[in-house]
Amino acid sequence: MFNLPSVLLVSATLWILGCIIWFVIVLRGWFVHHKEKAHGDFPGSLINGIFLLGLTPFLSAIQYVATGRRYFWGGGGVLFAGLTLIAYQSVLKRRKTGLAPGPNALAFRERSIVAQMAAILLVYGYYGIRLWGKPLTPIAATAALIGITILMILILIAAQIAIRLYSRPELPDERDRIIELRGSRNGYAALAAGIWGVLLLAIAHVPYDLLFYAIMGIFALAELVRLGSQFFYYRWVA
């Protein structure tokens, strides 16, 4: 136990302390929230959310130091929990004041698109930073592909659950289907252009790992074009 680096011990202690504080504050928030039903306004979830947002860089920094400057995803879960609590508070306030969502409020499908884009940026960005500049073996490439798939699935499931909790799920109608088709068309164009680029790279005999990054990047970019254009059509065009 004492052989562990001191920074790791301090980090673990702070981490546990942070978790306990977080747990107590959330419990207190819920307690006051239930009281508040009879007594008026209480921004419990907002306070908890802001607290967790403040904790995020702290946890990531601890992990970054503790893991020898390798990983910094530790604040991610806390960041997600903080944002969820803040979103919950805004829904609670809207319910209390009886305000209907305005015409500019993000709809269920738009929120889902934003979540997917954020997940792509987060996961591909993380793997891009992690793998860039290192010699890429077939095992590392396979591990990255499996990791990307699993992380994307987990993040998207969590995001969909959170969105469903705070937005009214809607069945797709004719406009949704048209926008989806237009977005897919744009994504296909980006993908096709990217494939041509990769073919040119292959002809130029670029190294294997550069080709791998290029294909991964093009796939992520095509997805971002598809989702981004769908969001654009939803908000400003159709």
Binding site: P103, A107, R109, E170, E174, R175
Partner: protein
């Protein structure tokens, strides 16, 4: 950021009809015709032209003829000739 809305040449008076029909909300109209609230907003703002089927459904909710709800703007688009009447 405010972007220019391309819009369509189909105009409508859905907003007026909603208020004349007991201040019907966009959500109520959306539920009764099987569209989403966002689509109703887009139609009212002239950003989206509904399908013929959806247009008939909307007219039927207000119990008025289709051409009373939707009107086609005859003004030709810039650089194009208007179709012969």
């Amino acid at each position: 950021m405010k972007l220019p809305v391309p819009g369509t040449r189909v105009r409508n008076i859905i907003r007026t009809l909603r208020f004349q029909n007991g201040e019907m909300t966009q959500q109520q109209l959306a539920d009764s015709v099987g569209l989403t609230r966002q689509t109703i907003i887009a139609i009212e703002q002239g950003r989206y032209s509904p399908s013929l089927e959806a247009a008939f459904k909307i007219a039927r909710v207000f119990r008025v003829p289709l051409e009373q709800v939707f009107q086609y703007e005859e003004q030709p688009l810039r650089g194009r000739k208007a179709p012969a009447p």
